[in-house]
Symmetry: C2
Subunit: 353 residues, 2 copies
């Protein structure tokens, strides 16, 4: 397989919020990314605009990245539709012989013009959200000694995927057998497998994620990426199906400090963190006993000083470990996970000790 | 439009549980049904096997129902797949010039053999679950004076659709402007419109049902059919999306007396009714304040005497009106709905008084 040399398309939306997919792919697949394509900000760098990716350049057209062989769509818009103006760029990429990677709900391979052009040039289209899930959950044959840790959130776009990846990496670093279970298009682009639950027919959401669990529970730790929030006006169906499909024994609550309203719906206030913990524990425990054992704070909007004040406040209010996995590292949460596991599986602790 | 003369296909599964779709279509569209097709029980009647439909005959093959022009698939199997043995029957129906109506997840129109045969004979295939929902919820522009009443359940297959239809009919009978909002294939077959939420891509479940509300809120009462249960291992994604998409001010809890375990998953005990009420009120109230104001008991498994004992027990335990809308009629629940509305919308009560 030829190594991927990716241009990420974020035209006009190269911001940490607007280009969530781009930011995460750059963070975890840095070596594969050769440029960002944004006609409105050529000459800048990924580091300047997204806070990750250092000197990866922003280019105004594909001709400026002649070695690239893949165009990856770097946004995940609400509704998952292709911005109309991007069609021309995609067709040009195909014409240059580049493969396409997309996480949109509107599948590129189902677009007659794009599909025909790709077929003619012999390039590949990878619609990451495409699936044909048709199995219901059975909640049978779960391995008891596998600790399923699910990141749940106060809102969408707070850092659930990033937290799951960071915790997986940190557990591995300490010598544990951990696996990240991707449940969204960006996570799948990073991990190379997973299930795009938000694009699964609703009757089969619980079953689709259960299959991921059953296929991976030979690992000792599964870090299952959350989606949306149980209180999210738009996406709560996805969130609950995921929660009940992965039956976590433990959850990490993820939130963004300073955010007051639902992302993209600023007329709807967020449900308080404490209530969100109560709601998640209640809903998860309809399946098996489950606890929120730590809080991952996204402090990107805060100064270092503000972050520490917020961290103390939330620790005191909730009585849980709290950290920003990027700013502080994951140690505090990893310690909490290992302590919880030792309590939950005393026979494993004895063996290890 | 030619009147429909329907044969309902329930081959080998003509039981109240196995043929839920058949039972409900017969109950509310009696005049359109000419026969049931079940090769294992010819000569019996719908009344004998399903408890509804009186003398509607069970036939062993389509030749025995020569006047029929429509074959309707009368089951809703878990997973929504076409039983393999039924293909021959469908092809024979097409060959006889009959239209097909199906609520399966596997669309008949997407089956090459069936689609080709239908095209050749010029008959119609109506896949009731087919949809292309792609809009997210916005939770805006809800009419305040429209009372949204949502049937929620302890389990699937307890009678949420039937309760919603009966309450709608009873409200109309008392002169109110009420509309049944169908959310499943059977309800849609009866009402002629609605949204098959369990077949909507999960990101758009909340938005799909919100559209139904916005399109129908000129009515004073919307009775929104529930799906599954918030504690259902398989279908909770559908249930929560529906709950958050229709933002009910009031809920009716539906359950089947005597049922101990999840329907089709007899190794998983049901969550107690009281807890289910708590869970539904908590989750609904993340959107707007919402209460369970009555209980619809499905007492089909009980004797008359057992029913009254159960009814008193549940009334005492929950402090709510309780009735079986088939056995007792809907009056007790209608009274509760009207009293709740008068309290919620005092200006309307004043106008009416």
């Amino acid at each position: 397989m030829t190594a991927r040399r990716i241009v990420i398309l974020t035209d006009g939306r190269t911001t940490p919020h607007g280009a969530k997919t781009a930011s995460c792919v750059i963070r975890y697949k840095t070596e594969e990314v050769v440029a960002l394509l944004d006609t409105t900000q050529p000459g800048k760098t990924a580091g300047e605009l997204l806070g990750v990716g250092g000197t990866i350049p922003v280019v105004a057209n594909l001709a400026e990245a002649p070695g690239a062989n893949t165009l990856l769509i770097g946004i995940a818009p609400s509704g998952g539709k292709l911005p109309a103006a991007w069609r021309k760029i995609l067709l040009e990429a195909i014409d240059r012989g580049m493969n396409l990677v997309s996480g949109l709900h509107d599948f590129l391979a189902a677009d007659p013009e794009i599909a025909a052009a790709a077929a003619k040039k012999g390039v590949e289209i990878h619609d990451v959200r495409k699936n044909n899930e048709r199995d219901v959950s059975n909640r049978l044959n779960l391995r008891e000694d596998c600790l399923r840790i699910h990141t749940v959130g106060q809102d969408c776009s707070v850092g659930k995927m990033l937290t799951s990846v960071e915790l997986t990496l940190a557990l591995k670093k300490r010598g544990h057998d951990a696996k990240f279970i991707a449940t969204g298009q960006t996570g799948i682009m990073i991990e190379g497998d997973g299930c795009p639950v938000d694009c699964v027919v609703s009757d089969f959401v619980n079953g689709a994620i259960e299959k991921q669990i059953l296929a991976n529970q030979h690992h000792d730790f599964l870090l299952i990426e959350g989606q949306g929030s149980l209180s999210h006006p738009r996406y709560s169906a996805v969130t609950l199906g995921l929660l009940h499909g992965c039956v976590p024994q433990a959850m990490i609550m993820v939130y963004e400090a300073g955010r007051k309203n639902v992302h993209g719906m600023d007329y709807i206030p967020l449900t308080p963190l404490k209530k969100m913990i109560e709601v998640n524990e209640m809903m998860a425990s309809l399946a098996i006993p489950s606890k929120v054992i730590g809080v991952a704070m996204n402090s990107r909007a805060l100064s270092a000083e503000e972050t520490e004040i917020e961290r103390k406040k939330v620790r005191d209010e909730l009585g849980l470990p709290v950290c920003d996995v990027i700013r502080h590292g994951s140690d505090e949460l990893i310690d909490a996970i290992l302590a919880y596991r030792a309590k939950l599986f005393p026979h494993l602790a004895a063996k290890a000790g």
